[in-house]
Symmetry: D2
Subunit: 411 residues, 4 copies
């Protein structure tokens, strides 16, 4: 073996399983290790720390392994400066670019540490000089790279911090999928309500991400009530959620009360609903013009809340507000993830994964789905700060509205 | 082809899909058919009727095909007497025995029709003469056959009737698994509550069948409240439900309110809980002695409700009331299925299938599970009168208690 | 009720369940019906036909119900001309537009019937006049509508034909999801192989649609062998499949044979792989330049086969060939669906639904996924010609290659 | 806090996640801890060891916590003798009984250590004196306890050893459910084949546990070939597997090759098949008499292999060899688990869990199912030595037969 580097990691190493995953990573990259030092706290909640020398077959492998380890909060001991290279093509990062984590990150340049604004995973780090000569470092997604940007390469001179969450049950078992539900569902609902109350109390914003299952499972009345009561600041979704919600609002509310709202009347209604909104010009104008008078999208528009709809290949229409270019859509989502204090994802794998990958690790994230695979797959993405709940989205929303909305269904 | 017989069927043939399944059956058994007559009602809700001549390669195949068709409510036109053979071994039905359906059935003997008491599927029909010389026909499971019993063979002389349910949406789409929930969950809860209210109003009994998921999902408080409010007359379950419920009652209620009831503390608690009840002699005595003071089994005992626990190969212990012999257990279940007006099955495939197979088709049957496969598999069993709901059992029970139990969680 | 119309339908009405679904549709749209005439074939395989008068509350409802019924192959008896309206906005169909099915369709204009070229569902029908004054009718998706186009409105003057498939088991049980697999998997593999051989023999093209599960499950070697043996003409997929395949090709093939190909080395590899291809300019150039030397995309490029990659909101990069605009992506897919004889969809719900919605009903379509929900949801889309197989994609591909590729794994 | 005890644990503590689970256990039982000493190996594969002082609210809690920790291989430092109490009732263990793990266990009595023969989890330990005055210790299930037995109580004087498995990927990630298959399926098949070859080479026996899915998925021809080639020594199953296999053998194999074996012809066939075997007296006699001439049960009988069938509440019949008493069935299973070298569980949760709970931890155990929940739930049982594979059972068996049976499907 050729290349080696000494790294350190601090935290609840053993009971969080971090160390186990670090050693797995080293093996996966074909590396080896020697544990130089291991300080384990004596009392139950003491943090422990380890210093490990990592080896890899060659320097390129080592650099990539070191970046990988940073996703676990493992930093290099040596504090040299970060290396920087210039991008030579639009949309292409330089070879050996530092691939970011979603952890709080700082970069050493000219002997000084610079905080990275709004960390996001799987990006590059661009170093910029302001007009006044100040240096700054920010994340840049591959598609936003332009020729001549100065990009950090290699893993040297970079430090990340794992969020020091309060030692709660949740914090110690991140993204434990709760397969075959083993935790009383009503307790889980209350925990989510509490998390949202805390985020609200802290003055942060609440992001929801929703899939069509929310409409199918009859969750629209509860979710619209939550919007009106101020528990949704911004919604990320696809064309299908909005189209299905609008279809129900336009065609699903016959006088026959036995016909449940949200019941699908065949696909023809959907296409016609989308056409109606396109004719009005936008969802917002359809609401203003009285064409669209109920449902989730109606609640968001009348309450002045934000929504970002991003298209997918299966879309009909799509609706006017939908970003048909997915790179543009990702940019629109990034514009909305500032000042978030909570993120609730319901019945969508696609938009949940997309959102999880642009959120900083510090945002609490809960994924609710009736399909265990969705919850599990989100966990695989490495968003170690999330929590999965396998339950029925419709009844979950009903209970959440009972918790958070005064007089919901009691009036 | 050799053997043929003319059959007739009446009902909502087309919109219930019955005819389609009848023709599938004929093909499956290698038979052929000619539709002699087809009367279709003119108005939307008129019943239609068909007369079909069925052919099969030989008489044995024909007889078996005719029995199969009876599970769809198809009867022979010819009204001869039923044939009867004598069983020659305990526990063995005669060759060519008539395999029962769970439909209302009558048998013609000596030119007279006799109603079969309490139809049950996959049994034989035994003809008995009372002391006073009156004939009677009842179902007999294979394991209860004794040598010398007179058993109906072949399909002649037997007529079944499909329950003439009110033309509701549910009746026309039996066991529609609601995959990827497409019907608002709150509406489904209300429909179940209504069904139970109707059964109660009609003076019939309510049967529940439950699996361990009820306890895991935190459904015990809601279900115990439903027991106390009189919405459970009898429970069918296995050792695991009772053991897990008792484990929670004995070990799961610490003073730390953050520790949710029902949370599993490892398997050791379960074995110890079972041993405690075995020491007390029975669940009932454990309740009387104050050893068991809360939970679902406690509620059943204190309210004087019935329960039948039947063992399975994975059981620990098992608990004293558990029938370790499964044939005895089936008999105990049969003893409880009289006068039923509703059956609700939650989070169990094994006990749901076992129960469905001994219920007459006239009992409304709802199966609730978070796993679509459970619901689907029950449908495959041919219990065409059931309804499946794919949802979270814990939240479902919570909502059902809010519907049915005055002041539940509002006190 | 006000509006009424007489319709007719011919085919294997009862055993295919079509009639049952037609009557369901009428109820769903709040309509009523009288069956005027019903001719049922006498022999087992005779087609039957029905003439039904349909009523709806008003003419708009009636027109929409009639369009809905056409998706079942139900046509109006009256043979007037189709009505046509002019679109007033780009991207918006006129009110009351005829929403297409994917069935063979003809339109009556000026007393003459015109075949619709390449039927596709959920589109409008545009009537165009060639330079020589000939009329033609083709489908137009909503997003391709331009102001001034002449679009068919209402359901009059339109006829559809359900494909008259050979009376096979498959044809009579369309999209039977085979939950909890009940049909020997090896038989299903052979049926797919036979379908592909027939399509090949008929000189038609084979379309594959794939999700990342194909790579995860280790299906790339088998699928690449099928590409090289000529069993794949065009592939529809997203960025993830290609990126994961390329990641495996670039980073997953170490010398350690115990490290299985396709094993995920963490997300960092994926981003780096995508960057490498972006640097090369395209997947095709990466193959030509020797940067990409194995895997599925490599096989497609070296064999000169087509692929259409369409982006989604979760994409990293994306790869250069990926259509980032989903409307453009849909157009690129439409360009490839001519002359298809078979479509095999594997491990993707998103791309399977997108593809199913642009294919004519005449193309045999098989959807393979380990998740029953994917297969079921595709069926819900109304693509009544498809077939679902719930199985392991990796082993399915392995068996399919053993069937179709001479000397596969036997060399 | 009152009671405390010092324990020690040695092994690959960090990368196996054991330590993390030990600390979770302590919290779960309301305890606290101080890590007295922690020796971490320096090199990658060095074992580490920890000495931890554990506290609990009272002695009873402490004893139970210590027993719980033993399931992780954690032993007490103090080496006093084990305490023993006398059982006072048949079928009831004394209060505070030591609940066994499935790990290699020894018990200290009179200053000497005694090995426990054949460890099994969730049992008691009975101390017996032979005629010659020698002491011996063996596991006793609760239902086999008789009055007067001398049973070990508390956790003192007991030591367990975790199997020192070869440091393979599998060993370090026990029961990693491979959700949404992420490891090439063909590699997994080969690993199972290798495991069976090693067990065979070591002269140990191969146990299979099967559910009805094996027959449904068309796995019988492959499994019967594996039986004939000597790769199955004993089968554990329920009535359903055997009944379905026999039904297929008796009724499912027409001359029409398009009718796949295993295709269900309705439940009537099953009941009739069971009756036929009951008439013959037993499966074995039905084979000898030529009544049953093909299939899995036929292969087992003709090859002289063992099978244990245990009943369940949903059984029809059941078949003569089925143990209708589940406690008797468990005993019959225990009699067959000696000298096992490999255990393969397919398509059954019930019998897999039942078997896992009576196997010593030293037997390699693989669970194959298309449903991720089955695999996950088995893992929850704490059988930390198992491995789960989410795949199609039918194709898995096909591939396994191709690996292990010379000339399978190549003749």
């Amino acid at each position: 073996m050729g290349a080696r580097e000494t790294v350190e990691v601090t935290g609840h190493l053993m009971d969080s399983g971090i160390l186990s995953r670090v050693l797995d990573d080293i093996r996966e990259y074909g590396g080896d290790f020697v544990i130089e030092e291991f300080d384990v706290g004596h009392e139950a909640h003491d943090p422990s720390s380890a210093r490990i020398t990592v080896e890899a077959p060659d320097d390129e492998s080592l650099q990539r392994l070191l970046m990988r380890l940073q996703t676990r909060g493992v930093n290099q001991l040596a504090h040299g400066d970060a290396a920087v290279a210039t991008s030579e093509q639009d949309g292409v990062l330089p070879d050996g670019f530092y691939a970011t984590t979603n952890l709080e990150t700082r970069v050493r340049l000219g002997g000084r540490w610079y905080d990275v604004d709004h960390p996001e995973m799987d990006c590059g780090l661009v170093v910029e000089e302001s007009a006044s000569g100040d240096l700054g470092v920010r994340t840049v997604p591959m598609s936003d790279v332009t020729r001549g940007m100065r990009i950090v390469v290699g893993a040297a001179g970079i430090q990340v911090s794992v969020p020091s969450s309060a030692p709660s049950v949740e914090a110690t078992s991140p993204f434990d999928a709760d397969h075959g539900p083993e935790r009383p569902q009503t307790v889980l609902v209350r925990q989510v309500a509490d998390g949202m109350r805390q985020a609200r109390a802290a003055g942060t914003r609440l992001l929801w991400v929703a899939g069509p299952g929310v409409v199918h499972a009859g969750g629209v009345p509860a979710m619209a009530a939550l919007v009106r009561a101020g528990w949704v600041d911004v919604l990320f979704a696809g064309n299908a959620v909005a189209a299905l919600d609008i279809e129900t609002a336009l065609y699903g509310t016959g006088h026959d009360s036995s016909s449940p709202p949200g019941h699908e009347h065949g696909h023809e209604h959907r296409v016609r609903a989308v056409n109606t909104i396109r004719k009005a010009g936008s969802i917002e104008r359809a609401v203003r013009d009285g064409v669209l008078a109920s449902g989730l999208m109606h609640a968001l528009v009348t309450e002045g809340k934000r929504f970002v709809l991003v298209g997918s290949v299966r879309d009909d229409g799509p609706l006017p507000e939908v970003h048909t270019d997915i790179v543009e859509g990702q940019r629109a989502m990034r514009d909305e993830v500032r000042d978030l204090g909570y993120c609730l994802m319901m019945a969508t794998q696609l938009y949940a994964v997309a959102t999880a990958s642009i959120l900083p690790a510090s945002v609490p994230l809960v994924c609710v789905d009736i399909n265990p695979a969705t919850v599990t797959r989100l966990a695989d993405r490495g968003t170690g700060q999330g929590r999965g709940i396998v339950t029925d989205v419709g009844l979950f929303l009903e209970q959440l509205a009972l918790e958070l909305v005064a007089d919901y269904r009691r009036g």
